[in-house]
Amino acid sequence: MAKIPVTFTHNGTDRAAFADPGQNLLEFLRRGLGDLSPKYGCGQGACGACTVTIDGQTQLACLVLAETVQGRDVRTAAGLADGATLDPLQEAFMDHFAAQCGYCTPGMLVSARALLDTNPTPTREEVIEAISGNLCRCTGYEPIIEAILSVAGRRATA
């Protein structure tokens, strides 16, 4: 079957690539574009490791048909840092030991960034709700919640 040309924005850069029929966005990003930041966890929409934003909304890349991002704005954890300068969220994850094995971390960062972009000063409950679609089997979530809240606090007092 013929490959499908897809043009879209990937972390702020215009990209054109070919998707296979029925290919999901996660495979398309990882194999087609070499962006290995979204992770393959369950392939069933349960774990959130593949979380990306499409036009600003968090979605699960493993459940998105790659060809449907035509003309849209896709952002992944790989686009958070500006060169060697990390996003404050990434710094906070390090400072608070919010990553252990690290597999959930890119998805957590994307969900947290999406929250802070729409709600710069979330409550603890709002943080928990925002990452409720992202499973972490290492940390028990507390360090992740603290990391996100620390960035919210910094922004609020800055």
Partner: protein, 266 residues
Amino acid sequence: MTEVQTYPTIDEAARAMARGAAYMGGGTIVMREVNAGTAAPVLVRTDDPTLRQLRAQGDTVSLGAGVTMAQILAEPQLDFLHPVARRVGGPQVRNMGTVGGNLFAAHPYGDFAVALLALGARVQLAGTSGARPVEDVLRDRARQVGLVAAIEVPRPRHGSFGFTKVSRVKPKGVSILSIAVLAPQTGGTLRGVRVALGGMGSGPLRSAAVERALDGQRLDRTTLEKAQSVASDGLQPPTDALASAWYRSEVVGVHLRRLLQSMESS
């Protein structure tokens, strides 16, 4: 390999639905099958903008089949549906999952459909005039009944609608069971009660026993006890990895009673 056919309108997509094809909406059901290698060989989809339309004013609200849970949560006029939409999936799934797709989501998903059943929603199929009761679509959902274009939901009188989803993991967890109650009162007496249950049978169903126990009564202690005691009457809930049939039968009445009490005090 999967072939994907995309059509500009829902009517064209409906005509293209041949034997063995599957319709893909938000992707949260069908893409799982694609990833598992068990999907239909042909997927039909459409970019029809009418599917994302939402009319929230008036006595009957209209939801395009492609309206997402997140869209519902962003619309203040649909506040009666917010407690239901909020309990579907996590944030990512709510940005993707649609009201039309929820009608076809098998247990332990599909709790929005339970609410639609209690509310007496009607389903508009593509290429047909008029709307069918949501009961019909839920009953026939294993067969191809056509493509859902929109869902019409009668707005409940303030405080007359309640919903609860029982899950073991919070805030995001799959459903052990769910309960939706429409219980309008006239002069303190319940009239036109509709009670829908999820996870208590092969799909969302109405509880005739509970409706009989509530209809024409006042929502007092005696009525609450009666409703609780008959909540699992005539039902054969499933046993699965989440809970046994016995457990579901034991707790459904307790959760029903708590829901009714919370509606009474609100």
